[in-house]
């Protein structure tokens, strides 16, 4: 299968940030936070199917998966999640279901913006929730701002990683980068500076570009004593309008990529896994019912997968709204009963040691966000 990414235009991409600012760190905890951004609107009802809900089977008869892993009598887990399933068995993963960022208009681009800004109005901020949280926690304080996904934009060093494969081309040398630095200003100057640092630091970086390879690389970098504390990995192709598939097919392949990203991160992080939270985000879930082309259209509530050594007990956190038509959002979508901002806040609390009220007020700019730290992390 062909994958896209290269920053905006590419298949999968990796962003590392949160380099410790020696002597100035305010964090109470030495945690690591990795966000896997599932682009396109991930179908939570396929990833974590509510097999015990009677309305489920009849709504999507062509999309049913036969060999789901069994979590409890009510919820199954898509068979692609082999590693994640093991993490659940080891009490180092949990699932939050019927959750979404508070956005109900079903546009990819507005929705993706809200996933990144964590605010209620699309395109209303130039910084992201993770970036603001990192500033608040003093994770990486060097004031360099770059390109980068909006989610981590704030004021810190970010490394993007997607190695070039321009045949026969020479690696930029110090002289060229110095020349460019002398003629650049603003973001371009900072970019040239970071390129120079990368040149010095990452000569031995592996030349991988698939999500799993990038995840391994991220894990290894984050294991280093002064390595980055935050990573964002994009995995795309979740916009399954047609031929979504069952235990085989498009959705199944992409979920397997996500599963491999989880296991590659764990392997790469080594003992630092114990101080890590990995979580998925997506712009929305998909319709309960299948459409006319064995796919699902844009919806609302989805599922969020969380894993890492900072979790104590496996479980499914959900306030299940039910799937009867009158329980669905606008009669068609899984209702979101847990605000994804609460999940993000809990992860920030667990990794950076920030207080919930502070996160609520200063990261999400909304004091009403419910604290669900205990439901997820204890």
């Amino acid at each position: 299968m062909i994958r896209r990414n290269f920053l905006k235009a590419l298949p999968s991409s990796l962003f590392l940030t949160g380099f410790p600012n020696l002597g100035h760190t305010k964090t109470n905890k030495d945690g690591r936070l990795i966000v896997i951004n599932l682009e396109g609107g991930m179908d939570g009802l396929c990833a974590v199917p509510p097999i015990g809900d009677k309305a489920f089977r009849s709504a999507r008869s062509d999309l049913l998966v036969n060999n789901n892993l069994s979590l409890n009598p009510f919820f199954g887990l898509h068979p692609s999640f082999k590693s994640f399933g093991e993490m659940l068995a080891n009490d180092e993963a949990t699932i939050i279901h019927a959750t979404a960022f508070p956005y109900t208009k079903r546009s990819h681009f507005e929705g993706q913006n809200i996933v990144e800004t964590g605010l209620l109005t699309p395109f209303s901020s130039k910084s992201g929730w993770l970036g603001r949280a990192m500033e608040l926690a003093g994770v990486g304080g060097r004031s360099l701002s770059l390109d980068t996904p909006l989610i981590v934009r704030g004021n810190m060093v970010v490394e993007t990683f997607y190695p070039s494969n321009m045949r026969g081309s020479a690696v930029p040398n110090i002289e060229i980068l110095d020349a460019l630095k002398s003629i650049y200003d603003g973001d371009a100057l900072e970019t040239a500076e970071v390129l120079k640092q990368q040149l010095a630091a990452s000569r031995n970086a592996p030349r991988v570009r698939d999500p799993e390879g990038l995840a391994t690389f991220a894990g290894k970098k984050m294991q280093e004593p002064y390595g980055p504390k935050v990573a964002v990995i994009n995995v795309n192709q979740f916009d399954t309008h047609a031929n979504q598939g069952t235990e085989v097919g498009l959705q199944s392949e992409q979920l397997e990529v996500v599963d491999n990203v989880f296991s590659a991160l764990k392997a790469g992080l080594g003992k630092m896994w114990d101080t890590t939270v990995v979580m998925t985000v997506t712009e929305f879930g998909r319709t309960l019912g299948q459409n006319g082309s064995a796919g699902t259209d844009h919806g609302y509530g989805s599922a969020c997968m969380v894993a890492g050594g900072l979790l104590k007990n496996a479980g499914i956190v959900a306030d299940w709204p039910g799937l009867k038509t009158n329980n669905l959002y606008e009669g068609r979508d899984l209702l979101a009963t847990i605000d994804m901002r609460s999940v993000c806040a809990a992860s920030l609390e667990a990794t950076f040691g920030l207080e919930h009220d502070e996160i609520s007020e200063k990261v999400f700019l909304d004091k009403r966000i419910r604290r669900i730290y205990n439901e997820i992390f204890t």
């Binding site: 062909i2 994958r3 896209r4 290269f6 920053l7 905006k8 235009a9 590419l10 298949p11 396109g40 009849s58 008869s61 062509d62 546009s107 990819h108 681009f109 507005e110 770059l146 390109d147 490394e159 993007t160 990683f161 070039s164 494969n165 321009m166 045949r167 026969g168 081309s169 020479a170 690696v171 930029p172 002289e175 060229i176 020349a179 460019l180 002398s182 003629i183 650049y184 200003d185 973001d187 371009a188 970019t191 040239a192 970071v194 390129l195 795309n236 192709q237 916009d239 309008h241 047609a242 031929n243 299948q290 459409n291 006319g292 082309s293 064995a294 796919g295 259209d297 844009h298 606008e330």
Partner: protein
């Protein structure tokens, strides 16, 4: 009027058609009046030639190839082969009938060498506005989509452009409309009577309907409802039935604006308060209505001005273009001329897309590293010859790549990254090392760098290779 400044400003620096023109007006007129002549190099460092006709494919030829590819791939799947043999046979079969690589050569060479660059430059904007990325068979169709819809439509009305883009099989495939079937269509009724309502899988797919409103026309500013989206999908049902379970059908269908009444949703539909009639003609009524909707004019005016003149300038001047749009009923020639004028008046810097930059620096330097039309597929580190499709992919700006329907960004922030700058440095290095530049870098600096400080800084770089790369990657060449 400084035409050299204008040409560089829109990424067409050192383009021959700018020579000898007395005014921007005559330049635009001449450009829009003449068709594009596709020129290319047959081989790296070869002599410029006309693109060979046997490497051009019309829509029917493309469809025929897809059908053949499909038939033979079925034969391979059913044949008595080992897994490995089958894998190889499939690859060879795909390669044999695919033309997307050839198309990308044509595109990349045209960007450097074709006549009528103004038209080409405008067409990239529209190709991006009506984005079609890789999905299923779309790579085999994108070139045809670009040339027949965008290039041929550049001098028409927005209304025609919209209708032609939406009904092209590339768009219908990319945004899943080939799967969009009316829930009360003849096909659905037949299915229900045969299989029973509960086990019958036919219905709407709203992907194209949604993006038609959000990205192609009115934008979320129109505050449309989910019902409007569903009704758009109903109007679109029936368009694009060129399909036969997972691939292209060999059924004799008209692939130019493919319509199948069997899939269409009967009855009138309301979209944003407008009543849309039933049947094939409904879509044209809908696209005409959307094309002249005030929110469409505002949204696209701002977008095209942002692209050519900068975001701040667009904030302040979009209304002028909206007025012109209204006055001319969306005549693209008038709109394009105005935008070109605005791009000169605006002093705001515009960050060039990577391929536009590639084309511009190739022309400014006379250097080239892309393999030619007799070397298609050649990509060799030792002889330093690079496949243009790889260049565009590595630059993060390949119109044949898989991407989201909102297309490539017009925001500088999205392109100023370590990854992208790294690639521009590498590309400039390749041009210097193996591209045989025809112009001296000092002349290029003297002619094209305007700011005295930058000019002096560049000229003071002692190493010629470094000076070459720094100039090509300098703010004045990347951001014009």
């Amino acid at each position: 009027m400084n035409l050299s400044r204008i040409s560089k400003r829109i990424g067409l620096g050192d383009t021959e058609e700018f020579y000898g023109q007395s005014s921007l007006e005559s330049l635009i007129k001449n450009s829009l009046d003449t068709p594009v002549l596709f020129k290319a190099l047959p081989s790296l460092h070869g002599t410029l030639d006309i693109w060979p006709s046997e490497k051009e494919f019309n829509l029917n030829q493309r469809i025929k190839r897809l059908v053949k590819r499909r038939t033979q791939s079925d034969a391979i799947d059913n044949g008595n082969l080992s897994d490995q043999e089958r894998e190889i046979a499939r690859e060879l079969n795909k390669e044999k009938f695919s033309v997307d690589k050839i198309d990308q050569y044509r595109f990349f060479h045209a960007g450097q060498y074709a006549t009528n660059q103004v038209k080409l430059r405008l067409s990239y904007f529209w190709l991006n506005h009506f984005t079609v990325g890789e999905k299923e068979v779309t790579p085999q169709l994108i070139s045809n989509y670009w040339e027949t819809v965008m290039l041929n439509g550049i001098d028409g009305t927005f209304s025609d452009l919209l209708y032609n883009a939406i009904t092209h099989p590339a768009m219908l495939t990319y945004l899943d409309n080939i799967y969009n079937i009316g829930p009360n269509s003849p096909e659905a009724r037949k299915c229900k009577s045969r299989a029973g309502a509960s086990s019958c899988v036919v219905g709407l797919n709203d992907n194209l309907g949604r993006e038609l409103l959000e990205l192609h026309t009115v934008s979320p500013a129109a505050a449309y409802s989910e019902k409007d989206i569903t009704n758009c999908a109903k109007v679109l049902a029936g368009w694009g039935n060129i399909f036969d379970k997972n691939s292209w059908s060999s059924k004799p269908v008209d692939f130019h604006r493919p319509w199948d009444n069997n899939h269409s949703e009967p009855g009138r539909k309301m979209v944003l308060g407008k009543e849309i009639p039933t049947g094939r003609k409904g879509l044209r009524v809908l696209t005409d209505f959307l094309a002249s909707h005030p929110d469409t004019k505002r949204f696209i005016s701002k977008k095209i001005i942002t692209h050519f003149c900068g975001g701040k300038y667009a904030e302040d001047h979009s209304e002028e273009l909206v007025d012109l749009w209204t006055k001319t009923n969306g005549e693209l020639r008038a709109i394009h001329s105005k935008v070109m004028e605005m791009s000169i008046i605006s002093n705001e810097k515009v960050f060039l897309w990577p391929t536009t930059w590639c084309f511009q620096v190739s022309r400014l330097t006379g250097a080239n590293i892309a393999s030619g039309f007799n070397e298609i597929g050649e990509d060799n580190m030792r002889s330093h010859i690079v496949d243009p499709s790889r260049i565009m992919f590595e630059m993060g700006h390949n119109f044949w790549s898989e991407r989201q329907p909102n297309g490539f960004s017009d925001m500088k922030d999205d392109w100023i990254s370590t990854e992208h700058i790294d690639r521009r440095i590498r590309y400039a290095g390749l041009l210097y090392d193996y591209g045989r530049p025809k112009k001296s870098i000092n002349n290029i600096i003297m002619q094209h760098i305007e700011t005295p400080i930058l000019k002096n800084k560049l000229l003071s770089i002692t190493n010629e290779r470094t000076r070459f790369i720094a100039t090509l990657c300098s703010p004045e060449i990347m951001e014009v």
